[in-house]
Symmetry: D2
Subunit: 302 residues, 4 copies
Amino acid sequence: MDVNKLLAKLHADLPSENTGIVASYIPELAHAQRDKFGVHAVTIDQREFSFGDYEEGFSIQSIAKVLSLTMAYQRENKDLWKRVGVEPSGTPFNSLIQLEQDMGIPRNPMNNSGALVICDILLDYLADPKKDLLAFVQSLTGDETIYFNERVAASERETSDRNRALIEFMRSFGNIRNGTERLLDFYCSLCSIEMNCRQLSRTFLFLANDGVSLSGERIVSISMTKRLNAIMQLCGLYDEAGEFAFRVGLPGKSGVGGGIVALLPRDYCVAVWSPPLNKKGNSHFGMAFLEGFTSQVGESIF
Amino acid sequence: MDVNKLLAKLHADLPSENTGIVASYIPELAHAQRDKFGVHAVTIDQREFSFGDYEEGFSIQSIAKVLSLTMAYQRENKDLWKRVGVEPSGTPFNSLIQLEQDMGIPRNPMNNSGALVICDILLDYLADPKKDLLAFVQSLTGDETIYFNERVAASERETSDRNRALIEFMRSFGNIRNGTERLLDFYCSLCSIEMNCRQLSRTFLFLANDGVSLSGERIVSISMTKRLNAIMQLCGLYDEAGEFAFRVGLPGKSGVGGGIVALLPRDYCVAVWSPPLNKKGNSHFGMAFLEGFTSQVGESIF
Amino acid sequence: MDVNKLLAKLHADLPSENTGIVASYIPELAHAQRDKFGVHAVTIDQREFSFGDYEEGFSIQSIAKVLSLTMAYQRENKDLWKRVGVEPSGTPFNSLIQLEQDMGIPRNPMNNSGALVICDILLDYLADPKKDLLAFVQSLTGDETIYFNERVAASERETSDRNRALIEFMRSFGNIRNGTERLLDFYCSLCSIEMNCRQLSRTFLFLANDGVSLSGERIVSISMTKRLNAIMQLCGLYDEAGEFAFRVGLPGKSGVGGGIVALLPRDYCVAVWSPPLNKKGNSHFGMAFLEGFTSQVGESIF
Amino acid sequence: MDVNKLLAKLHADLPSENTGIVASYIPELAHAQRDKFGVHAVTIDQREFSFGDYEEGFSIQSIAKVLSLTMAYQRENKDLWKRVGVEPSGTPFNSLIQLEQDMGIPRNPMNNSGALVICDILLDYLADPKKDLLAFVQSLTGDETIYFNERVAASERETSDRNRALIEFMRSFGNIRNGTERLLDFYCSLCSIEMNCRQLSRTFLFLANDGVSLSGERIVSISMTKRLNAIMQLCGLYDEAGEFAFRVGLPGKSGVGGGIVALLPRDYCVAVWSPPLNKKGNSHFGMAFLEGFTSQVGESIF
């Protein structure tokens, strides 16, 4: 099978009109061009395939939550799970309702509240948090051009009232320790990481490779890798996780910048990017493309 | 590896005391002996392994929801998913709260409301619903000793007020078509199916075998098999689905009778039984045993 | 002050267009003519004032819940309040959400679930429930022409799925004792009572008259009267009770037939009728008229 | 009737043991002595009655929310009600759940979120907010010894995470305009006002006197007075407002310091104080005492 041709064909098969909407609640994200489309896949034996705007950078947004979780998991194997759960939430990504019922313990580390707790944990471990975070992310591929988009981070900090509410709310239950502005600054930098599809699929390859990164370094144990994949499978696409498992069948994570990364354990990792989002906040074409991809390739985890 | 020895060792490694509680809300279930324990695994090339009370029958309860779903899916590939979703719920198995927000569409076919909708669909297709259902279940293994436990079914019908509420509530949204008592009778029979661990793992083998049953018959397509597994993975253990994915890493389904069935696609299916349940309503020792099993075997879908 | 003239003037002051919508979920109610308008007031010294279609009968619907509550309160002074609360709900009249949180105890006897519990209580006391209920209602005014509208009752029974759900749900918590169909039949008859504005204001006069009816009979004690008025004030207009207290300032009760009855303790009772309802399910013009009325008269309970 | 004797007798009739619990979530409040009890009533013709520790000051806490609401209502008659509702909430005083459903508009100005919005409004009007607020409160009685307890205010600011969450959450919906710390500082000062029962009943007399204060000044119009009383009646005792209307039958407001103020329009105002709170956060003995009081006096608004 010529995978590059398959990628092109799958793109050609997408509907002519994209009914999704480019995210605009973070003003800086609204600049994304709605007809951009890129995809890049890399296998654990490092063959690579791609199509479209796969070399164009975009804001990976919530996809980065898997990377911060990985860093925290390296440092806190047990206590981590006392402060954040591993269950899908059944509610939108920034909801406070469940947090009230659950006494300030986020359902999982993939929604905003859980990712904030993870950042709060990392602030207790990292000497120079933003620098250390970026160094870790770059180390996964050895690519030192990966960076924080400062304009996006600033734009995000300016529209962070809801996240501030989440922080103070969890603090009232004793589940946040660091100062609000310091925490928000770190969190907004995390979300502002910019990559292209190639960088993104390479970065996440360690999760397809039993915990060993592209550059051959063990990042997490096999068991931890499985658990990170389980969390992505169950919680990675917010309240559309079930639909993603049903249609695509791979552990994955989406971001409001229009990116989705997904992976088949012990096989490959794929990153797709198309800015317009569906109603659940996931890339409309990204979902459709990945569904076609796993249907054609005939492989999924199930 | 001697799998039978492994099963025995894993059982020996369980805590000496079981803090779970045998389900009693269906009076007939309360008779189960709390120290019973059985496990049976079967591979797609039909090797079999077992330990303990694996030949003793028990009420499979909600595990049967996967079987009714399979029957409905055979008959309605598309319209089915307009009447029931595929998302995890984040709420207990008999909750009405989400149903009110979601206008009578159950989140998934694994909780009570969704399983009732599936039964309502089947009533429109089956000439002799209970007989046809049992025939289908028996056909998966060719074992005609599998039966409805009439005492359990009767006990369940007598404690069905909550399910009646779910039915009438969904009917008020137009999502139930058949008469309440007829529907409940069918649903209670479904839940009263009795099997032992060997029968259970053999019955579910088709989901590990790309849709082909133990007796070599194609039950559903490969694609449909993947989707059934995805639903089990995301929704099969109620609001503990995330924990199960995290700790065990296999698609599975539990029942309040203390049974859990789980499977590794294209490899094996395993059924475990221990009546005492944890707070989420899943077999306490069953969860622990399967966690140990996938840790030792080192294989999961992730 | 010429009260009849005031009533006419207040009617003339209503907006020319009524943006409300006539209830249609009970098909028989949809026949109501949207431009009908009637009002009738009676003082405790039995002066009477009226305007418009005050002699035309309409379905009093939920207004009747106060009458069934009064009958139950006469029979069960203490135990009653273990099965139903006296708190406003903050949710729509037929919601199941709170009922789940509150373990099957309705927040108050003015919403559907609470009124069903009250009917369930009455079924345990009344020899011939429908006949006894009608006799009680007629006895408040001595007017034997008040009747159940059988067509409305039948129409209501046919669209009772939601109420059936409430009944079964509360039964699952042990808070319903009688058979579902018997209870629904009684409840639908209660809601089908037909009165005109004059009959309605006269019927409710006992609540303005410290518990003594128009015909001079003590119905409930002074203390019980106060408590019935308190319940109407806090819960009588569903989730618009606060707005009604704020704008009108009188204990009152509304029905989806477009009627509202309100009263000033130790002074008068007024009934108004206009079928189109606002978004909260209360008569749009009825609310506006009563607001004008208490503003002009300058009297409210506050 | 000798009212002073009645007050003493009603106190003697209270149960020997108080099962309530002194509030401790604001550390400074935990110092209150649990067996303190005071009551003071004043009529609109300025007769005064009292019993017990009625001259001992205590933290009036949420009772002060009525005073800030009055100040805001003087300044914004219409727009005010676009930013806060007048409906009872059916949920605890500091819940965020409803706020999420209601898009950041608090149900009423008596719960924490609503009172924060009222403070936000006042910050836009007052030149020297804390000074102006205290001057207004003192002006109601002419008593310049009324003060902010700075220790309580400081203690409250230190335990304000939940209120910070409410502020940021409402800000995310555009319903808060001023800086968080400035707003919290003002709000905590408001709640820290200290009065004794005599000062409290005198302060609230204007609400029993059609809007005219003890010192003879018109504070709000008659219509506005009625509306303030309506809000207190429906929302003044949190999710126990119905119980208070049912048992006591007067508009009232409680605070976690153990104070309750209640009033009979055009008659009298009464303040009672006993620190131990019931489960809903209202003074346990205060509720019981007022129930006895209105039962004995035989007067309520209903």
